[in-house]
Amino acid sequence: MTLTYWSWLKNVQKVADIWNASHPNVQVETVWIPSGNRGGYSKLYAALAAGGGPDLAQVEMRTVPEFMLVNGLVDLSRYGARDYANRYDPALWSQVSFSGGVYGIPQDSGPMATFYRPDVLAKVGASAPATWEEWAAVGQELRSVDAYIDCFSLADTSYFVSFAAQAGARWLRPAEDGWVINMTDDSTLKVARFFDRAIDDGIVTTAYGPFTPGWYAAASSGEFASLTSGSWADALVQSVSGGAGKWRVAPMPIWDSTGYGSSYLGGSTAAVLANSKHPREALEFAVWMTSTQAGIDAEIANSGIGWSPVPGMIGAAREKPSDFSGGKTTTRTSSCQRVSRRTWTGLGGPSPRSPSTF
């Protein structure tokens, strides 16, 4: 029996091959699709509408509810998904469980951090900004040496959403009688005013978003002092030509009194699609890939996934320091999640207030 798994992670077939070696009767064949909103989801929706589609697919956490709307996902709790719940970070697990069912297995998450270049910041005698106010002040000074503190993507709204969530916003919540919306609370408006002013003062450029050709060219010529993005961005920052050894990582700036120490950007799940004929086996593969040491190490080595969804297991490769950014990446990224002053229960649904963050 073969399972098909659609994903945009780099050579994820190598991860599947490890499973295939030890499971002769359940072979997994991966197919590459473009990343989610760049065409990947369109392919999945089209395949579902055509009555076909793969057994397993990479679906970002923010898109799980959309697939549920076209009942494209299998409720995995019927196949015993709950027994694995304790392996995963409760905040991430709550993001895949809706109205009593479990609709995906967390694969990775994107706790945010600030990647910065000390040499560029040194031009104005600054270090990684701890608060957004400081970020704006340093940004202002950097303009005098013809550098930017960061860029702001007009096309990709997920950055703005993460900053608003960090400030304590909660745009939508499910209630018994339907959805309740509140996008005009004061934390969202504070973030909106902040970036309005940042753009009006010319602190950030909106010509292009992160990881676009224009951004790579500007970053390689030292025009950017920092980039606040998900932890998965470390692989992309490494591909900035001429950037080896110059990038460091620090906790992302925080909003003054309210809000959280960090936020999330991206984060995927492995979900079983509605037309799959082998949901039970698909669930077993998904759990193996995302919560066993072998699976996680393979994912990190081959596919550069984001942060591991399993608290105690951040993956062997990430325990030793990475030489790219002067040996400090891993230790700082994990520490920055614990710095959050208020209990960060993550971009998740209602979940018990756990003492340790995650």
Binding site: N37, Y41, M61, R62, T63, V64, P65, E66, M68, L69, A91, S94, Q95, L154, A155, D156, T157, S158, F160, V161, A165, G168, A169, R170, W171, L172, R173, P174, D177, G178, W179, V180, I181, N182, M183, T184, D185, T188, L189, A192, R193, F195, D196, I199, T206, T345, G346, L347, G348, G349, P350, S351
Partner: protein, 56 residues
């Protein structure tokens, strides 16, 4: 207090980014967020889902 996603995220993101794109022609982010809230509620209702504004 925590965050939860909703069944119309892609369309909501596009509504917001269309609003952000009008920044150059004078629409501030604050106006965009306020207008987006209404458009997202319409998007919910177009899908046949029920939605209401949070009472303060």
């Amino acid at each position: 207090m925590d965050w939860s996603w909703w069944p119309v995220t892609t369309q909501s993101f596009n509504i917001l980014s269309d609003g952000f794109r009008r920044k150059a022609s004078g629409t501030s982010f604050v106006d965009t967020v306020v207008a987006a809230e209404q458009q997202i509620m319409t998007a919910f209702r177009n899908k046949g889902l029920t939605i209401r504004k949070e009472q303060a």
